[in-house]
């Protein structure tokens, strides 16, 4: 055990820091759940790509830097410390990208990876359906192979597709074998959202913005070369994607450590009134310690992976931990803010505290998406602890 960065890592950190300092927009971008903000974020992705900072863990020939996990953690630390924009193409680069590299043909990699890296193609997910939420194997949307075998004809409905309103492509699972049940007979297909027969209906989120949407498929024709993996192998391809999502890449510790830091600062600035509720001080300490613990455990996992280990069922512990931490931190901040805690950011008396409310609203989704925390607890009990399924 050696808990120190090497000189190379320090130099890498300096390099990231100075690039971000020179390039992060001085004015925060508008929310990417607005049309204007979405466009701003797309441009930011292009800028990241130009600097080769878009997806540093990708191989160099794909616009990355072949960075290892330690460099990725350092990059994320600097990225959040610099208050750089949220990643509008995270579904693409963090979820679909790694899945494509594992399951895609050479032709597919050439065709899709560059577009997602530059921000030209923004991807959304097509997993959930009205009757297939936590029970993802209940998917009913169909993709029928045409008689000449050249394309699929998709019919059905997907829902809760984040950023689908302005996205270019959707990746998801469809039932290709109508006789099949549950996990069998599903196929992973990439669908252009401008295809004929697609209707996207925005769903306003808690903040009123159309951050996610329903997607209706009415005889949508998709060429077979948009299939990722083999026909009927969709479940295992999707599991790889879900694994990346729950695993290390999507929610790096830096994000929560920065929130914890802002919370400590908020508490210090308002300590006199905050201490009228003694539970606030306790919650601030807990926020710092939990964010720190999340960082420590992530570093430990990263070191294990770099030494050839694997992420197992303990990845499910990670998702519960950060989502509950995120809620707890924002709840505490709103208590400290008193009446200002309920004011929308654009209210004249909100001051500069509005992002705590935005964060609080977003934090409500954490324990629900990417597999509810109840599902995660079942996975921990059954796969990590070996408790009986029935």
């Amino acid at each position: 055990m050696k808990l120190e960065y090497t000189a190379e890592h320090q130099a890498f950190r300096e390099e990231v820091r100075s690039w971000l300092k020179a390039n992060v927009p001085a004015e925060p971008l508008k929310s990417f759940d607005t049309e204007e903000g979405f466009q701003q974020h797309r441009e930011w992705e292009a800028k990241l790509y130009e600097g080769r900072w878009g997806m540093i863990t990708w191989p160099e020939e794909m616009g990355g830097r072949g960075a290892d996990l330690m460099q990725w953690l350092i990059f994320e630390e600097e990225y959040y410390a610099a208050s750089a924009p949220l990643r509008v193409n995270q579904n693409g680069i963090f979820l679909l990208g790694p899945t494509l590299m594992e399951y895609g043909t050479e032709e597919q990699k050439k065709r899709f990876l560059n577009g997602m890296a530059t921000g030209k193609d923004i991807w959304c997910q097509g997993w959930s359906e009205p009757n297939a939420g936590s029970d993802m194997a209940a998917i009913r949307s169909r993709a029928d192979l045409s008689e000449d075998g050249s394309h699929y004809i998709i019919n059905g409905q997907k829902t809760w597709s984040t950023r689908a309103v302005w996205a270019d492509w959707c990746f998801g699972m469809f039932r290709t074998d109508p006789e099949s049940e549950r996990h069998r007979g599903l196929t992973f297909i990439l669908v252009p959202l401008d295809s004929e027969g697609i209707t996207v209906r925005p769903i306003p989120q808690l903040d009123g913005l159309p951050g996610f949407a329903e997607i209706f498929f009415d005889n949508v024709k998709v060429p077979v070369d948009c299939r990722l993996g083999g026909e009927g192998e969709g479940w295992s391809v999707a599991m790889a994607t879900a694994g990346f999502e729950r695993g290390l890449m999507l929610r790096s510790p830096a994000r929560f450590q920065e929130t914890a830091k802002r919370l400590v600062e908020l508490y210090k600035a308002n300590q006199e009134t905050a201490d009228e509720d003694p539970s606030i001080r306790e919650a601030v300490l807990r926020a710092y310690m939990d964010a720190e613990a999340y960082c420590l455990t992530t570093y430990q996992t990263a070191c294990r992976l770099m030494q050839g280990g694997k992420i197992g069922a303990e990845a499910s512990t990670n998702k519960i931990f950060w989502s509950e931490l995120d809620q707890q931190m924002h709840a505490t901040a709103l208590k400290i803010l008193e009446i200002r805690g309920e004011l929308l950011p654009e209210s004249p008396d909100a001051g500069d505290v509005g992002r705590w409310l935005d964060g609080w609203l977003f934090a409500q989704s954490g324990p629900i998406y990417a597999g509810t925390n109840e599902i995660q607890r079942n996975i921990i009990a059954e796969r990590m602890l070996g408790m009986p399924r029935k």
Binding site: M1, E258, E282, Y299, Q300, E314, F321, E374, L385, P388
Partner: protein
């Protein structure tokens, strides 16, 4: 950056675990409860033969010359079996205090005997009010009025207390400073005492991880066997979630404990903060393990006969050992709220 244990450290953990799980069975613990001292000379000798009593004793004095990071996984295993012999305090608190106190005569006299298992040394810190295992100690290192004294057993008078945990032996100790050797006073003593407290808290934290794991294992086993409504009760989601809640919190208590061990072993400036975080996180998860485990054991968990209480009571007792939660929270608060506190992304290491 390497946040993993070495192959050697993991192998040592494995061999110590095998030994402890085979030797310190719940039956053996119950037998020891029935004895006057509650301690076993034979067991202590076995621990000495494994090199454990001398783990942190310098090699010149017959020990292994290892450090807190080498021991932390072993302390976790000691917690897993609720070991009552004063091994963790001897290795983490008494031995380093003797080595670092600056009195070479005392160190030369006692450290070889501690390594060989001939003698036991215990430490009495004011923060703990009572002294653990004073009755089986040959040498007591006692804090009094800000100074540290080495007191031989014959010169200490003990008043025994019974703990809720029958494995813990706690004593009020009185002694005449005139008949003892003053090892340190003033600022020197304060620095030594602070280190002793941090090491003791690390020991409690590491053992609490083991206790939590043991309670998970007992509960998973019980709920997989116990049937109601025709099925194992462990198949019910309400029961599963009680267990999952312990398991995920345990994952995030382990790394703070390992980091604290590293920080003490390397004497880093953040050691005090790391230790307090570790102690709070580990005691909290052991507490939760106790609460959820007795619940899923049902009435069986409320009995003396079922083994759960051996571990549950140790977890309860540890809460206020080597600093209450309030003490450690105040230390964390002092570090966080300081003007120059390093916080946020990138400030962890």
């Amino acid at each position: 950056m390497d946040f993993t244990f070495s192959e050697d450290q993991l192998l040592f953990q494995e061999s110590v675990r095998d030994f402890l799980v085979n030797e310190i069975t719940p039956d053996k613990i119950r037998q020891l409860w029935e004895t006057d001292s509650g301690r076993s000379d034979e067991l202590w000798q076995q621990l000495a033969e494994l090199g454990l009593t001398g783990l942190t004793v310098p090699e010149d004095f017959g020990g292994l010359g290892m450090n807190e990071l080498d021991f932390v996984l072993l302390a976790q295993e000691a917690g897993y079996v609720a070991l009552s012999e004063p091994l963790v305090n001897s290795v983490l608190v008494a031995t380093p205090l003797l080595s670092e106190c600056g009195n070479s005569a005392i160190a030369e006299q006692w450290l070889p005997k501690i390594a060989s298992g001939e003698a036991r040394a215990v430490v009495g810190l004011a923060v703990n009010k009572l002294v653990e295992d004073a009755h089986c100690a040959d040498l007591l290192l006692l804090e009094k009025d800000g100074a540290i004294y080495a007191v031989e057993a014959a010169n200490a008078s003990l008043r025994a207390n019974e703990s809720v945990d029958p494995g813990r032996k706690l004593f009020a100790v009185d002694f005449d400073p005139a008949a003892a050797v003053c090892l340190a006073d003033g600022d020197t003593a304060q620095a030594l005492l602070n280190k002793a407290l941090n090491r003791g808290a690390l020991g409690v934290a590491a053992q609490s991880l083991g206790l939590a794991q043991r309670m998970i294992d007992l509960s998973v086993q019980y709920t997989s066997e116990r049937k109601q409504f025709g099925v194992a009760i462990g198949s019910f989601q309400a029961v599963k979630h009680h267990m999952a809640n312990i398991a995920y919190k345990l994952e995030y208590a382990k790394t703070p404990v390992y980091r604290a061990a590293y920080d003490i072993a390397n004497d880093t400036p953040r050691a005090e903060l790391s230790v307090s975080h570790a102690k709070l996180a580990a005691c909290e998860v052991a507490d939760l393990a106790a609460k959820n485990s007795i619940q899923v054991h049902g009435a069986m968990g409320y009995t003396w006969e079922v083994d759960l209480h051996i571990f549950m009571k140790r977890a309860w007792a540890f809460n206020s050992s080597y600093g209450t939660a309030g003490f450690h929270k105040n230390r964390v608060a002092a570090a966080l709220l300081a003007d120059n506190a390093a916080l946020g992304a990138g400030a962890t290491f």
